[in-house]
């Protein structure tokens, strides 16, 4: 399979159809892989794809990460089904044009949740939550798929939710608040959760604004809570559930639980799931006169 992907990348670069192919390469130790920008044909053989390829590469298509994109007119990108959801969402939000990107889909049977859990194979103990009941193993929209691509019915709601969300929701509000109070104590505001997110698109994040300073930059309780709540709210109806924010957190705070919860809320209220259509706009960035409002209290 990787040979087909490499051949496709080689073909694209040789014919000048793309300036670069973004993919995965071996990392600096056997449990890790790393993003690679392949510009030269001779580097194509560095491309790999397996269960350790956890990064969501579409974040490099986000205009916020300006430097790598300098001079790229058309980008080839290797993505898992969930990554292609992120690309789809970027296009739906006008952050990217469909003809600026050549999507190479990698058939994916799930990835590991954290490199440190990798023990040579994927199993129930180390598979990322998003990979259970994944409905985009056959990707939504793609330019190249190395095997036959059957039609898939994806009309059912996307309901992959970690059991932690239900556990938290079963608590009383003050108990839940107490949990996050303690858990957020570890946060030192490195913003890895923001930087790995394919959908954090602002050139200047609200937390970096100083006039006025909306969010206290210090990592005390007020600063941490206001950051994480704002981050979660800004992603409502936009998050495609890649789980990278939790995976990237050096302090092991499961921040994507907020996003998972919000995904259910959006599905219930707006019948919308992000990353499945390049045309349908996310509900919270559009407006219709007959929008439901009976839930507003």
């Amino acid at each position: 399979m990787i040979e087909e992907i490499r051949n496709q990348a080689r073909h694209l670069l040789e014919n000048g159809e793309v300036d670069v192919v973004i993919g995965y390469a071996e990392g600096s130790d056997p449990t890790r892989t790393t993003p690679i920008f392949v510009r030269k044909v001779e580097d194509v053989d560095k491309l790999i794809f397996d269960e350790r390829c956890i990064n969501s590469l579409p974040l490099f298509l986000n205009k916020r990460h300006e430097f790598p994109r300098k001079g790229w007119k058309k980008t080839g990108i290797i993505g898992k089904g969930c990554d292609i959801r992120a690309i789809t969402q970027l296009i739906a939000e006008n952050q990217l044009k469909r003809d600026e990107v050549f999507i190479i889909s990698a058939p994916c049977e799930g990835v590991v949740s954290h490199p440190e859990k990798w023990d040579g194979k994927l199993h129930d103990g180390n598979r990322a939550t998003k990979c259970t009941d994944c409905d985009v193993k056959i990707p939504v929209d793609t330019d190249f798929f190395p095997v036959d691509k059957p039609e898939v019915d994806r009309t059912a709601p996307y309901q992959v939710t970690a059991p932690q969300v239900a556990n938290l929701m079963s608590l009383k509000t003050d108990e839940r608040f107490a949990f996050w109070r303690e858990d957020f104590d570890r946060c030192f505001k490195c913003y890895a959760c923001r930087e790995v997110c394919p959908h954090c698109s602002c050139n200047i994040c609200i937390t970096d604004r100083t006039e006025p300073s909306w969010i206290d930059p210090a990592a005390h309780k007020r600063g941490v809570f206001s950051w994480h709540m704002t981050r979660a709210m800004h992603l409502v109806g936009r998050c495609t559930g890649c789980g990278e924010c939790t995976r990237a957190c050096p302090m092991g705070i499961q921040v994507d639980l907020f996003n998972q919860r919000m995904k259910d809320v959006i599905q219930d209220h707006y019948d919308y799931k992000s990353g499945y259509s390049m045309e349908v706009k996310p509900p919270l960035i559009t407006y219709k006169v007959d929008d439901r409002e009976d839930f507003i209290q």
Binding site: G27, I36, K40, H65, K189
Partner: protein, 368 residues
């Protein structure tokens, strides 16, 4: 200095004794967190009320460092209030409890003199009172490594897994359930005297030396630090192609800097409410895009790879030049914590390679 042995199974009791002696005890413990898929074990230095659940000597390194117990993540410097046209300043009361930090790994202990060189530098005529008072009142009980993971590289920066240079009291497992204890300072002896009821005999120096070397063999990430400083001192190398090539995947989060035991940059803001507030000092990171952003809008480190270049230069040149202290202590936290596997040791290897092969220094045409 006298030595002793203590049983590893008695370390919980050791914490209890120190707590009973009215000391604030900090030790590694697993953070209770939400069980389920995608969770990982979070080993954290935490304040202990008893010895229950301690993980001294377990795992490789904690997620948080000892740094936050010396250089707080955030602290108010003073309070202010606008009264008419005058500003009234009032000091903020800080507590500096006597603290013992147990289970510090030798690499991390090597960061103590580095932080001291920055924050309480008598030569430079500057002392951060908060840091200095905390350091004075903290005793470090270090613990030799007998294991290493794929990210460890202390030996590449001249630190040994059983180094006791920066210890007050140093523990080394002897492999039979007992621990060799050696006091290195008066503060260490004071802690040792509290632990004395738990001592089971004299130390075994020969066995300690042998066990101290066990981890060396397990370290797989080996780099040559020697040529790095001279290569960085060469001005032309500031614009070498490798900075872009290796650094372009950097996302600009601050995980490496906040995890780093020797990173020490901070910012100061006024947290205002109406006519009063606090002036607050808190951690900042050179990896953030606004770290060097001038008021004019100009940013001398305008791309992310330049920010990572700064981080590497800080560790291997600026720290040595400005503070005469060691920048990188080889703990590997920045490697473990990086979301895109940007690896400081790959930079080290690349520099060593370039220093040995000057012809390889040509610019890459792809970046022109």
């Amino acid at each position: 200095m006298k030595t002793a042995t203590i049983q590893k199974s008695d370390l919980g009791k050791a914490i209890d004794l120190l707590v009973q002696a009215d000391l604030r005890v900090v030790a590694p413990r697993l953070q209770p967190t939400l069980d389920g898929p995608d969770d990982i074990d979070i080993l954290m230095f935490q304040e202990m009320k008893s010895g229950e659940g301690h993980q001294i000597g377990e795992g490789i390194l904690t997620h948080n460092g000892i740094k936050e117990f010396l250089f707080a993540k955030h602290e108010p410097l003073f309070a202010y209030e606008l009264k008419g046209k005058k500003v009234e300043i009032t000091p903020v009361h800080h507590e500096y409890p006597r603290t013992v930090i147990l289970g510090v790994r030798p690499c991390e202990a090597a960061s103590i003199p580095s932080l001291e060189a920055v924050f309480s530098n008598a030569n430079a005529g500057f002392e951060d009172p908060f840091f200095t008072k905390r350091l004075e009142r903290t005793t470090f009980v270090t613990y030799s490594c007998t294991d290493a993971d794929a990210s460890c590289f202390c030996t590449s920066v001249d630190i040994q897994p059983d180094d006791s240079t920066n210890s007050d009291l140093h523990f080394t497992e002897l492999g039979d359930g007992s621990i060799h204890v050696e006091a290195k300072t008066q503060a260490g002896e004071a802690v040792a005297s509290i632990l004395e009821p738990l001592f089971t005999g004299e130390g075994d120096q020969a066995k300690r030396e042998k066990m101290g070397k066990v981890a060396v063999e397990k370290i797989t990430r080996l780099r040559d630090k020697a040529p790095i400083r001279a290569w960085l001192d060469e001005n032309a190398n500031f614009d070498d192609e490798m900075w872009q090539r290796l650094g372009e995947k950097c996302l600009g989060c601050g995980a490496c800097t906040f995890e780093c035991p020797t990173c020490h940059c901070f910012d100061i803001v006024d947290e205002n409410k109406g006519t009063k507030g606090y002036r607050v000092k808190f951690w900042d990171s050179c990896q953030f895009d606004h770290f060097t952003l001038h008021a004019s809008g100009h940013n001398p480190r305008d791309w992310q790879y330049k920010r990572y270049r700064n981080r590497f230069m800080c560790k291997f040149k600026i720290y040595e030049e400005t503070f005469e202290a060691q920048g990188c202590i080889g703990c590997g936290r920045c490697i473990r914590g990086c979301p895109v596997n940007l690896d400081i040791t790959e930079y080290m290897a690349e520099v060593a390679h370039k220093a040995a092969n000057p012809a390889a220094m040509q610019a890459d045409p792809d970046f022109e």
